[in-house]
Symmetry: C2
């Protein structure tokens, strides 16, 4: 197949075709920036769905078959599975190919995949900060990355032109791109994503195990705030287990800060310190304004769930 | 003015015209179930806006003026302000009138307002479990209560027909209605609303005071989960200060459970107990399914923020 002038990578391999893998396929096709897309999945059902939805031009049961001759290989599997995939595909990687991933932790990707990447292959870990609570190949859509950020964490010594090329790929998918060291990524994501997910999972489980409040009551009266947490707590359990097992240090550090602050608030409640509460609640509004101004959330009340558009 | 056959209450007084007060006006007008709506507000600006938006037929600077001769008086002010409003309006309440409120804590309403309610006036505290992160008279809309729950907590001895009448009023505004004791309400809401708000406020403040992660990074990379918490943390600070000062016991009890469970999770992370994490994350999905089946949230991914409809 002749290279199309708009193609950034001619042959792209998706190792794993869930929410993120399928969204990359949709967005890359929308942008017309790739030639062929191959894919592999762990289960025959996912592979069948990927074929039926035409997410891939060729579907294979193994990562090695999908990655053979690819110009860009994207690992779209839980971070705990990336190391063994890297080991499997190493022998078939084309010289000059780029290997990247979409995992929510980057230090462990460097640690687990790095040793397997052959000389002459470019290894540039990545993480699109985008997703939904739905999982699987049917949940992807082309707009998922639009105006979201994608972070690349190339190890020292990575060829700059290859980083620039992968950056242009993500920009064509709709993303803004930032480059930073893997360990800083893991610290930033611990507070903006990992700890929020952990406390969402936690309160849902606390609510489900009360003796004096029934599950039925929790469900009926969830519109006072709780329901928002359940959306986040509906995210893929395997992906999130792997995140916490592989970003332990940063998560424990941020969790320590969270708990310290919560105990401080709890004490203010116990002793009726209204001014402390009021000031903290007022301060919290500024960050929300910043997020809306930065285009990272909608200003519509209740995220627009009630069908009311935002004013700002 | 002659009573209209569809009117449940002929003259309704809104004491306070913020998000909830203005939404009651919109919803009551949509349903055609009230004759005249009077209103009072603490600030001239709110009163002016209420007049301009025709939320009220008559606007007064004091609660007593608005409540005079009303058939239904609805206190729509922060719970900490309800006692003094009850004291102020007591002398002008019409025999047979109903006094209710919309506060997120019910025990304190019974404690603070109850003693001022004159004999012959019906006192039925209430709480619509509905809202948005926006405040003020311009943020209300008629659909706010549709398919949400409203809890009524009539004290022992309340005339049943008056409870039934107020129930029909809330049903006409779009709500489902449940009746329960005030102390049970306060326990249920502690876990479904108060503690979720507290931990949302808390993580936003933790994130804002880190030394190694900038506010700019927190904002840019918020789409990984954090941004959802900032919506809840943008709610009205005065209202929430009053909630925590007035539902101390139940909030501290639920917060104790939350922290105990969080420490358990933290320990599982520290010791790499993947199975404990996986099981907890999987269990949390069931409650989400229950909430969607009960019509208390949308199934659309990301609350539909990306414009994608839910599959069911």
């Amino acid at each position: 197949m002749a290279a199309h002038s708009k193609h950034i990578y001619e042959k792209v391999a998706l190792i794993g075709i869930g929410l993120i893998g399928s969204s990359i396929s949709h967005a890359a096709r929308r942008a017309g920036i790739v030639g062929t897309i191959t894919g592999s999945a762990r289960t025959p059902a996912t592979l069948e769905t990927a074929k039926r939805l035409k997410l891939v031009d060729a579907a294979y049961p193994t990562a090695a078959e999908a990655a053979r001759d690819a110009d860009l290989v994207i690992l779209c599997v839980p971070v705990g599975a990336c190391g063994s995939v890297a080991e499997e595909i190493a022998p078939v990687l084309k010289p000059g190919a780029v290997v990247t991933d979409v995992g929510s932790v980057k230090g462990c990707i460097v640690r687990d995949c790095g040793p397997y990447i052959p000389s002459g292959v470019h290894f540039i870990p990545g993480h699109p900060i985008a997703g939904t609570e739905h999982s699987g190949p049917e949940s992807g859509f082309a707009e998922l990355f639009d105006n979201r950020w994608c972070i690349l964490t190339p190890p020292d010594g990575t060829v700059p032109s290859e980083v620039a090329k992968l950056k242009s790929f993500w920009q064509a998918l709709g993303s803004n791109v930032e480059v930073m060291p893997a360990d800083h990524h893991d610290l930033v994501l611990a507070i903006t994503s990992h700890v929020p997910h952990l406390i969402a999972y936690n309160i849902v489980n606390t609510a489900a195990h009360l003796e004096r409040v029934t599950d039925s009551e929790v469900i009926k009266f969830s519109a006072g705030g709780f329901r928002d947490f359940t959306r986040i707590a509906a995210s893929d359990p395997t992906m999130w287990r792997d995140v916490f097992l592989n970003n332990k240090e940063a998560v424990l550090e941020m969790l320590g800060r969270f708990t310290e602050d919560l105990i401080h608030l709890q004490r203010a409640i116990r002793f009726g310190e209204g001014e402390t509460l009021f000031k903290m609640f007022t301060d919290a509004r500024a960050i929300r304004r910043g997020i809306i101004q930065a285009g990272q959330d909608t200003a519509a009340p209740n995220f627009g769930r009630d069908g009311k558009p935002g004013k700002g």
